[in-house]
């Protein structure tokens, strides 16, 4: 296209047709470092993504992260304290809410969950190191204790859903 045309980007700017020079390279280099400093990629996002890709090959339907509630007064950051962290995931046929807390041993995580509508569903906890399963009770409650920290996803098999499985996005415990 000819940059001489007036378009959505406004009037031509002097120098826009010139080749990139050393100053351009220096400006972009400095800008790249500033971008990475001002808004750094969260720690562990690559690992969570890789784990999400592994889960994607299970062909589960992915739930939507609806909201994360951190304790009042806490500072939102990449690694909010586990205590009282509550996360809600939604899917057109199912909602899963989980509450995370530090387990009795002080290092592992306790995960208490509820599925709605309540049903005795099989719930699978997946981490890169392995998987565990439990069953939600009549009220839709389930729990995993002594869970390792790290990328984690829950898979729920829907009732009368045949092979339909829904998975939460990968979260970092």
């Amino acid at each position: 296209m000819s940059p001489k045309h007036e378009n959505a980007w406004g009037a031509p700017v002097p120098g826009e047709d010139e080749p990139l020079d050393a100053r351009d390279v220096a400006v972009l280099g400095r800008l790249g470092r500033a971008v990475a400093t001002v808004d750094p990629v969260p720690e562990g996002l690559v690992e969570r993504s890789l784990f999400a890709m592994t889960l994607a090959r299970l062909e589960a339907e992915v739930m939507e992260l609806q909201q994360i509630e951190a304790p009042v007064g806490s500072v939102r950051g990449d690694a909010p304290p586990l205590e009282a962290r509550t996360i809600t995931f939604t899917h057109e046929r199912l909602t899963v809410m989980i509450a995370l807390s530090t387990d009795d041993d002080g290092t592992h995580v306790r995960l208490d969950g509820w599925v709605a509508p309540a049903a005795t569903l099989t719930v699978e906890l997946r981490q890169p190191g392995g998987e565990r399963t439990t069953t939600a009770d009549d009220d839709g409650r389930f729990a995993f204790t002594a869970v390792d920290r790290g990328p984690t996803s829950l898979l729920v098999r829907l009732p009368d859903g045949g092979d339909v499985t829904v998975a939460t996005p990968v979260i970092e415990l």
Binding site: V27, L28, R57, V62, D78
Partner: protein
């Protein structure tokens, strides 16, 4: 009353993350951490890897290899391209928690669609466009939710503007170098799409500028072959600020 399951041993399931499909999952173990550059040098794959291979080329190769059941190149691609996806999503005004989710979902979508992407050369653009659309979608939903919760039509515009937003003013406090601060405030004076374009290309190499421009709907050839309008504008603002030369 909750049901508790003791640690893995009694779960009744084999421990291990082997999944059905194309072999084991993507390794997330730290020893897999390698830069794309060292990988390209030490691991000739898929014919004739080129030292000048661009991110777009590596993305194409990663998907082709993945279709054949090899995941190493795709793992490297995730490490290399996640920052671009992150900043693409953040540029749409998505807060950090949700952006984390959107980036993951974009990579997962690539796995699901790996067999149907007709033009491997367009994988990088596909990733950027997918991330950008998913980000818009979350912003749109966030605004709809806010509208429902507040039920005060007059507040909608104000509320939407108050959503978490990637345009840092105060965040730029982390920039301690005066020139960085001048650069950042100069950038913020440009049209938003110019800001988005320049942030993304600043994280990329020149051969990939075209895919980045295309993914955000900028005129083809606006940057890379030539300086382009956005970078020319940034330079003009910097010159006004008295920053004549940074070389």
């Amino acid at each position: 009353m909750s049901m508790q399951i003791p640690p893995a041993a009694s779960s009744g399931r084999a421990v291990g993350s082997e999944v059905p499909g194309r072999g084991p999952g993507f390794s997330t173990s730290p020893h897999e951490v390698r830069t794309a550059m060292t990988r390209a040098a030490e691991e000739p794959l898929g014919g004739t890897p080129d030292a000048d291979e661009s991110l777009g080329d590596r993305a194409a190769r990663a998907v082709l290899e993945f279709r054949q059941g090899r995941t190493d190149a795709l793992t490297d691609l995730v490490r290399e391209a996640t920052p671009l996806l992150w900043h693409t999503v953040r540029a749409q005004g998505v807060d950090r928690d949700v952006a984390d989710d959107v980036v993951q979902s974009t990579w997962a979508a690539l796995v699901r669609h790996a067999d149907t992407i007709a033009e491997p050369k367009a994988v990088l653009k596909w990733l950027l466009v997918t991330a950008r659309r998913a980000a818009w979608e979350t912003v749109r939903k966030g605004r709809a939710d806010l509208r429902r919760r507040t039920e005060l039509p007059d507040d909608v515009t104000e509320g939407a503007a108050a959503l978490p937003d990637s345009r840092p003013g105060p965040e730029a406090e982390v920039l301690t170098d005066e020139r960085d601060r001048i650069l950042w405030s100069s950038l913020r004076r440009l049209p938003e799409r110019c800001q988005e374009l320049l942030r993304l290309v600043s994280l990329a190499d020149r051969p990939d500028y075209k895919a980045i421009s295309a993914s955000i709907g900028m005129p083809v050839g606006s940057i890379g072959a030539t300086r382009g309008r956005c970078l020319a504008k940034l330079r003009a603002v910097l010159t006004e600020q008295g920053e004549a030369s940074w070389t």
